[in-house]
Amino acid sequence: MTTTQRDYLVDWQRKCFDAGLVGADIPSEYGGGGHQGFQRIANQEMGRAGTPFMINIVGLNMAVPTILVHGTEEQKKKFIRPALRGDEIWCQGFSEPGAGSDMANQQTMAVPQGDGWVVNGHKVWTSLGHFAQWMILLARTSRDHKYDGLTYFLSPIEGHPGVTVRPLVKMTGESGFNEVLFEDAVIADALRLDDVGKGWTVAMTTLTYERGAAESAGGTSGERVPPIRQLIDLARKSFRNGVPAIEDPATRDAIVQRAIVAEGIRQNGRRARVPALCDHPMRLPLQSKVTGSEFSQDNAKLGVEIAGAHGTLYKLDRNAPDEGHWPLAYMNSYGHTIAAGTNEIQRNILGERVLGLAKSK
């Protein structure tokens, strides 16, 4: 994302906020609309209109709901409105190079000093890190307890002494994520969220919102355009075994398979809101990360196959179909099957929380 794009999106979020389309269900004393159930309607309408996404996605989906649950009155007053308005961009600091899927294995240390904390450590996969003013930061305050040794902070990022943000290059050659280094960075104790040693509990609140297990209190727009149409269009203009791929039976079956999965995801979303058709309240919400990310991956892979020889081409090639979307989307799809708990971990969670099977770890 360029700075120009960033500025455009910040401006867009501000306009939406001013129009009451963001933060609609947040209490008005913190800058929200003070309504109930408005946000979903706003999201639907924005999705239908195909509006840009909300740049402060981490702020809206993670920071704001977590601060609402665990924050002090001062913290709510200080952070929520700027987050809703896009004035302050947030990033997430839960991932570390050594921790992988084991989120409790945080090595970033926060040591008390005066009325603050000295932080040292290394966070990775921080999207928006280079634009962010704030980070939700999970750090270790005790080595004696794995889970109870964690504490949750709201850490300043941009321009903060001891904090360095560096871009991480993806396998596609594009950047998009960052790593954030803390070297003797000082964080005031007033920026600690909830008690010392309660970081794991707070982080679970954050992830509950992120995983769609609860309604987003902030709201992001952008139900994506169904990608089946894209596949069909690609198949019309691609050739396979001498015929347009759209006439090739194997391609046809594959596209219809994708269309069925797409319909399943769409109707899962609808059914999740009909309690009488949901035996277990978490069964559908907890599936959405796995099904959504694998759907995108399978689609992109199919697109590469349909493109055939043209699937080798990078986006800057003049002959790359759909501006090189398919191979890039295929590779980028691993970001989604890996991030926010790999799909292997997601399947553990589903097996354990929904089906009640024994814990695998």
Binding site: I232, G264, R266, Q267, L277, R347, G356, L357, A358
Partner: protein
């Protein structure tokens, strides 16, 4: 996609929930799996080797008739309950989950087709079904083609009677049905007519099938004479085409029900059976496939209710949605069946374990009216035209 006016709850409201919950309670009480096993699986040699008729609980069927389930799909104008597809699908899921041996599914499917006949001609037959008559479709040729026009039965007119000759194959629950809803070719026309199962000239040849929870037959029509009044349509192809989404959705609902039983039963086994000092479910080689079974079921089930809703709304997308539902339910059923046997290990491979009852019912339903691949071929013609 659902039109923007489509009900958010698929039309599955209080009445539908009540019906489904009553069905679940009734079948939980009346047909626990131990009773099902005793009913249909007491003697493997009886069914398979000696070819005896499959057993079912006719007393239970009388109760079902009294509950009015045969009339659920019959329009109120014809004395039925005129229930929405969304509600019937909920009930059929329970039927599948209990692997109920009965002509209910067949009767519902015959009803859907009759509803598309000439209203005046069909009304009396629909009323009989609402009164408790069981019925089934006898519309398939010996090749097992699911296309509407493919019948081996031909008709000729003799005064005010119709004489039918030929053979209808793969007739579901033929042994239990009182009315056969039959297609027959008459010149260029394809008749849809009702033949009472005790009509003279009908020859039932019972198929030997694997599924223990239903029967299937091929029926010879040897100069079977019926009154012209029994002809409910002279354009059976259109009637079948209109009814077909409902038929597919009914089978898909049964599949979703059996698959859910397979999932829950295997999950229970994986919770309690220990291997290498851990419950089976500890192992990701057990846990993750069960999660994938669940994902498959949920995909099928959500599309199923969407399809039912499209039918109820008279939505043009009903056939697409119904074929998607049948495709997804067949594939989910195949995978759920597969893992239910494999993850039960040795015991799952035995007659004494109940999983085979559901495995076989599911397999039959996966094939019936076309499996996943078949549905996708027809979908491709619609979606990729």
């Amino acid at each position: 996609m659902a039109s923007s006016g489509a009900p958010k709850d698929f039309g599955f409201g209080e009445d539908e929930e009540l019906l489904r919950d009553l069905a679940r309670k009734f079948l939980d009480e009346q047909l626990p799996v131990e009773k099902l096993r005793a009913l249909v699986a007491a003697d493997p040699e009886a069914v398979y080797e000696r070819g005896e008729p499959s057993t079912w609980d006719e007393g239970l069927w009388k109760q079902i008739v009294e509950l009015g389930w045969t009339g659920l799909a019959v329009p109120e104008t014809a004395g039925g309950a005129g229930f929405k597809a969304a509600g019937i699908v909920g009930l059929v899921e329970e039927v599948g989950r209990h692997a109920l041996p009965s002509p209910l599914i067949s009767t519902l499917n015959a009803t859907y087709v009759l509803r598309e006949g000439e209203p005046d001609a069909a009304a009396a037959w629909l009323a009989r079904i609402a009164d408790g008559a069981s019925a089934t479709l006898a519309i398939t040729d010996a090749r097992g083609s699911w296309a509407a026009g493919d019948t081996d039965v031909s008709a000729r007119e003799e005064g005010d009677a119709i004489v039918l000759s030929g053979r209808a194959s793969f007739v579901q629950d033929a042994q239990k049905a009182e009315l056969l809803v039959t297609t027959a070719r008459l010149g260029d026309a394809l008749l849809l007519c009702v033949v009472p199962s005790d009509a003279a000239g009908l020859e039932f040849e019972r198929d030997h099938i694997h599924d223990l929870t239903r029967d299937q037959a091929s029926i010879g029509f040897r100069e079977v004479r019926i009154p012209t009044a029994n002809v409910v349509s002279r354009d059976a192809a259109t009637a079948l085409e209109r009814a077909w989404p409902s038929v597919l959705v009914t089978v898909a609902a049964d599949l979703c029900g059996t698959s859910e039983w397979q999932l829950q039963t295997t999950v229970e086994y994986a919770k309690h059976r220990k291997q290498f000092d851990h419950p089976l479910g500890f192992f990701q080689a057990v846990k993750h496939p069960l999660v994938d079974v669940m994902i498959g079921i949920d995909r099928a089930r959500s599309i199923l209710y969407h399809a039912a809703c499209c039918i109820d709304e008279g939505n043009d997308g009903a056939e697409t949605a119904a074929r998607m539902a049948k495709s997804a339910a067949s594939d989910a059923g195949a995978y759920a069946s597969d893992r239910s046997v494999q993850l039960h290990g040795g015991i799952g491979f035995t007659w004494e374990c109940d999983v085979h009852l559901f495995f076989k019912r599911s397999l039959h339903n996966q094939l019936l009216y076309g499996d996943g691949t078949y549905q996708r071929q027809l979908l491709a013609e619609k979606l990729l035209a």
